[in-house]
């Protein structure tokens, strides 16, 4: 009568079901079309979230909203130093600014399976996110976190300054174990098939190929890894087995001769390495001891890639810190370092992905942890050029042109986040992030 369009829920439900069933039979086309969001007529495999009536009412009753944006303090909060714990504070800040982790915890996705929830580190992380995103201006005291970490990671316990990288790995390990609800034993059973949020985000696959020089048979192993530790020039081992001065402006880094870039370090990491005659391995195919070359590449890229510069050298007598400046970019393309690019690497070329238009392996920098006394972290909020540095407890706005300052910093741990997240074909998990 009024000629307006009406939306009836029951009919829509029927329509959705029909669309869904139609979609299953047309599965091949979704692989092509997953880049597009939805193909008309084929139904949507990953529909947008639509509110239900009770949700609408709830949202209507609570009209105040908080937006995470670069000019607001939501998401920023200082952390009190509990006594030589600034390494821990830095890692906490980096983790709480991980966009995908933030989305997971702020949407309350954690279901605790631990026998005693007050000992669950994931629950504590969840409440930590709530605290840090509350907008509360007073700094937070992470004493519970410290207590839980000391209980669950004994080797870290103790009142002393520690390594942030070591803390990161231990914290991820405890979180991973607690996601499963079991504190010991089960965790080590099958890391390849773990489905917890930590593994979904941080676990990448490092592929190691050992090529026998005699028969050219390749034996491949893929190991899960949470970070990539990179050697630096100035360390005991030589850095440039191949000729320097090659094109290293792959990722838009300012290529000044003499300045090592992150890409250089990655190139070195993924180069074919000739294992000397003292390290002959037994080749599986020709059954003899032969010299071989070994190459590391990335088989599966994690959503959040953490790069660790090996700045601390432990020689016989002392611990030395390498302070070489390494330039790192805001955006990083990992395509040349993938296993699929191995062929061109073997021939000595570095594949330049600039024109490929493929965004799959592109990353954006979102946090940098530096080791100066005290530990400092700089995090980049979404799509802005501003950074906040947080030391122990005070968050100061960075000076103008802060992006450059972060990039000028020494860099010890670098956190990169994937720009485009793909749907996994088996799961109807809806993850859709804009480029950060």
């Amino acid at each position: 009568m009024c000629k307006d369009y009406v939306y009836d829920r029951d009919i829509e439900q029927i329509a959705k079901e029909e669309q869904g069933s139609f979609e299953i039979t047309a599965s091949t086309s979704t692989e092509v079309s997953h880049q597009q969001y939805s193909v008309p007529g084929l139904g949507e495999k990953y529909p947008t979230w639509e509110t239900t009536k009770p949700e609408l009412e709830l949202l209507g009753h609570n009209p105040r909203r908080r937006r995470i944006a670069s000019s607001f303090t939501i998401g920023l909060r200082g952390l009190i130093n509990l006594g030589n714990t600034c390494f821990m504070n830095c890692i906490v800040q980096a983790l709480t600014h991980t966009p995908i982790l933030r989305d997971f915890f702020l949407s309350d996705r954690h279901r605790c399976e631990m026998p005693s929830p007050e000992l669950c580190l994931v629950c504590e992380m969840s409440s930590l996110f709530r605290e840090l995103y509350s907008g509360n201006p007073s700094p937070h005291v992470p004493y519970k976190l410290l207590h839980l970490v000391w209980i669950h990671a004994r080797h870290l316990a103790g009142y002393r300054q520690q390594d942030a990288h070591e803390f990161l790995i231990a914290a991820l390990d405890v979180l991973h174990r607690h996601c499963k609800g079991d504190d010991a034993g089960k965790a080590a059973s099958n890391p390849n098939h773990c489905n917890c949020i930590i593994d979904q985000i941080f676990t990448g696959g490092l592929q190691s190929d050992v090529t026998c020089q005699a028969c050219h048979g390749v034996s491949t192993t893929i190991d899960p890894c949470w970070d990539i530790s990179l050697d630096l020039p100035g360390s005991c081992t030589s850095f440039w087995p191949m000729s320097p001065g090659r094109e290293s402006s792959v990722n838009g880094e300012s290529h000044i001769p003499g300045i090592t870039t992150l890409t250089d370090c990655l190139r070195r990491f993924t180069r074919p390495e000739h294992l000397g005659s003292s390290a002959k391995i037994k080749c599986g195919s020709c059954q003899s001891y032969q010299e071989s070359t070994k190459q590391l590449t990335m088989n599966k890229l994690p959503v959040v890639a953490c790069f660790h510069f090996k700045r601390f050298e432990h020689s016989a007598k002392q611990r030395r810190k390498i302070t070489t400046y390494i330039s790192f970019p805001l955006e990083l393309d990992m395509t040349p370092f993938m296993a699929s690019s191995k062929e061109s690497r073997m021939n000595g070329q570095l594949q330049l992905p600039t024109n490929s238009g493929n965004d799959e392996n592109k990353y954006s920098l979102f946090a940098v942890v530096n080791h100066q006394e005290p530990w400092r972290v700089a995090t980049t909020p979404a799509s802005s050029g501003t950074t906040r540095t947080s030391g122990s407890s005070v968050m100061m706005p960075s000076s103008p042109r802060p992006v450059l300052r972060t990039l000028d910093s020494e860099g010890y741990l670098l956190f990169y986040h994937k720009q485009v997240l793909e749907h996994e074909s088996e799961k109807v998990k809806e993850v859709n992030t804009q480029a950060y």
């Binding site: 939306y7 909203r65 000019s71 006594g83 026998p115 201006p137 005291v141 004493y143 209980i151 103790g158």
Partner: protein, 400 residues
């Protein structure tokens, strides 16, 4: 997008233009989809000409004048615009109708509080910094309120993980022993400490419990320290081989024995204690009594500077030690105490493990505190063996 009917050409069977309930100025910019086709009027004209050439033979367009052509072009243009916008319009209409159109918006007042402040002297929240010195937190272990910046060292001690923690704990236990605490309380304390260690990890709990060997000398010691005498509850735990029947000994043997060993006669076994002269189980009073009993009233307790002990004492050190001991500040004794106590472990106590020996040493020190001695009999702070200082006041002078 709902499928659109394609009967736009011609005039029949078309949809009526949609009555949109809002003007274009109301649409927030973020609603605009990024995939709108750019349109221009020339394109529609181009289409018109093409279609007119290909299909519309029956309508001889050449006969139409320009205004009619223009009208048709206009129509096609409008159709193209609708084409692009209709899907979008439907989406917005649906959002408004279902009530989630304005969900994303933040009310301006909420976000005003959270704007970043960028002024010198203030942090991003607009506060003066360095005002957070007095933050406190509650220790999850002992439920005490601790200053935040001192939480980590406190927690280390609280969980028993530091270098000094075990020593401090043992000292406390020794103190509580001498205060005649009941055995069950002590067991409870031990169990509580076990719980601290066994969060979620049975392995560690088991390990700890296995350390609590029921036959360990520590446990037996705790039994013995009831009232300073041997308790009768677990006689089999007491190592009988340490006792000596004094009836069989001659006077000379007794004398030599009493110069090197404790010698206090146990009521239960009627044997003399063979532990060292500073055995914590017995008081010096008891030792004196025994010697007087055996050797006459002139018997004197041998001084501690025998070869058995590494101890030495200085006047100044002993004064400092005494003042500290008397305060019962078990947590404040310096690490050097433990260092020297380790050296005295080598003196062949003859019982138990090393750790228990070091505990015995400490118990002796705290025992001294209760007696109120003024001498540094237990002041084994020096690691190197030293000759005994000659003009040392004997502790027995003070007792008298």
């Amino acid at each position: 997008m709902p499928p659109l009917s394609s009967g736009q050409q011609g005039g029949e069977g078309r949809w009526q233009p949609l009555e949109v309930p809002w003007t274009h100025t109301n649409i927030p910019p973020q609603c605009v989809q990024p995939c709108c086709r750019p349109l221009c009027y020339e394109q529609s004209e181009h289409r018109l000409h093409k279609s007119s050439q290909m299909k519309m033979e029956e309508m001889s367009l050449s006969g139409l004048d320009n205004s009619k052509l223009e009208a048709i072009a206009q129509e096609i243009y409008a159709d193209l615009v609708e084409d692009s916008c209709l899907g979008f319009c439907f989406e917005v209409h649906r959002a408004v109708k279902c009530g989630y159109f304005f969900l994303d918006d933040t009310d301006p007042e909420s976000m005003k509080d959270f704007e970043i402040v960028d002024q010198p002297g203030l942090d991003i929240f607009g506060q003066v910094f360095n005002q957070w010195k007095s933050k406190e937190c509650v220790c999850p272990n002992c439920s005490r309120s601790i200053a935040a910046s001192r939480f980590a060292p406190h927690l280390e001690k609280c969980l028993g993980m530091g270098r000094n923690s075990s020593r401090i704990a043992n000292r406390r236990i020794a103190n509580s022993n001498n205060m005649n605490k009941s055995e069950s309380d002590q067991e409870d304390n031990d169990d509580i400490n076990d719980n601290d260690w066994s969060y979620g990890s049975e392995k560690k709990a088991k390990k700890r419990k296995s350390d609590k060997n029921p036959n360990s000398p520590r446990r037996s010691k705790s039994l013995k320290h009831k009232n300073g005498e041997l308790s009768n509850s677990d006689p089999f735990k007491y190592n009988n081989s340490t006792g000596i029947s004094y009836e069989t000994l001659g006077p000379e043997e007794l004398r030599s024995l009493l110069t090197t060993q404790c010698g206090v006669i146990s009521e239960h076994t009627k044997k003399m204690c063979t532990r060292s002269l500073r055995c914590p189980q017995h008081t010096d009073e008891q030792r004196r009594t025994v010697r007087i009993y055996f050797l006459g009233s002139s018997a004197v307790l041998p001084e501690v500077e025998s070869s058995l002990d590494n101890d030495s004492f200085d006047m100044t050190d002993s004064q400092a030690l005494i003042s500290r001991l008397q305060w019962d500040g078990s947590s404040d004794l310096s690490p050097s105490d433990s260092g020297s106590s380790k050296t005295s472990e080598n003196q062949g106590w003859g019982l138990g493990t090393n750790s228990s020996e070091s505990r015995k040493t400490k118990k002796k020190k705290s025992h001294l505190s209760l007696v109120g001695t003024a001498s540094g009999l237990g002041s084994n702070k020096k690691k190197k063996p030293k000759p005994p200082a000659p003009p040392t006041p004997s502790i027995y002078d003070d007792i008298n």
